[in-house]
Amino acid sequence: MTVMEAPPSTKAEIVDVPFAHREIVARLSPGGRYIDAQSDVDSPWVPFGDNAAIKHLAFDVRQGIFSNILWIKGPGVIGTHLHRGTIMMVCLEGSVKYLEYDWVASPGGLILEVPGESHTLVTDHPNGVKLFGWMQGPIEFYDDQANFVETTDVWWFINHYETYCKANGIPLNPKLYI
């Protein structure tokens, strides 16, 4: 049995792929989309404390999924937190590590986190870090005495985005809601 070893077509042309359910997809799919992350046109930087900001990119309330870019603007810490879901992050700029692990993420590197892990995010880089994340499920935040403070999930992230937009007269971008 042979397997594909290269893209079967390199023609810069739309090929009409046979698929029996186009009409139903057009009617009921939320649709793929493009959200610009280089500018503030699609989504603004929303402050997260004095030294960090979040650019919200996507929310799926059915699966508790949220996607965003976390920007820590200079050396700093996001204190210990526990994940109940699965996280995928890509380091875009600067560098980041967790006090719990022995690696340091640099631009282009992929970070995977799984349910049940707690860890403490640190950037020692003079310019901090930018991290793209695709995240599912609750994150529980603790203070430096290990007292539970709050559980953040898709609702916290939507609220963080919408509250800032309201306060600054920015219209909500329907593209962020999958």
Partner: protein
Amino acid sequence: MGTMTAPPSSAYKIVDIAEPYLDLIRRKGQEGTYVGSSDEESPWVPFGDNAAIRHLAFDVRQNVYCNVLWIKSPGVIGTHKHRGPVWAVGLEGSFRYLEYDWVCRPGDFITETPGTAHTLVTDDPNGMKALFWMQGANEFYDADGNHVETLDVWWFMNHYESYCREHGLTPNPQLYL
């Protein structure tokens, strides 16, 4: 560290839980669904002469579909391959796969994982009913191992909606997450 060993409340009342995002959840959240057991809420849609599917949920964002498969008498659903995970609970009768050594009976629970291909058989005189929760693509092959069609949430939705159209039924919005 202590952990819950029993429900922390058995009060027969709704307890008001602190929810800072209540308005947001009401505005942007998706309500949970209820599909009762009647044919009005979701009919049995024929799947060949000896089988039918009762569709229960479609999530187009995650390509998830949930339904009850009914094979009415001894029969086979030919070899198919899953690209996503499957959970199932036996409801009536029994079924097995030619590839495995177990038989799923009412109350039994099974999972199927991406990459597995198998051949569903019921030897029970009354066939089988089982609840399936499935994610992703499901590839069907003919008896010679030729790929025939890849089924996913769109096929299942089309199967349901085509039947509804042909029978003048209004699709039940409770099936659409």
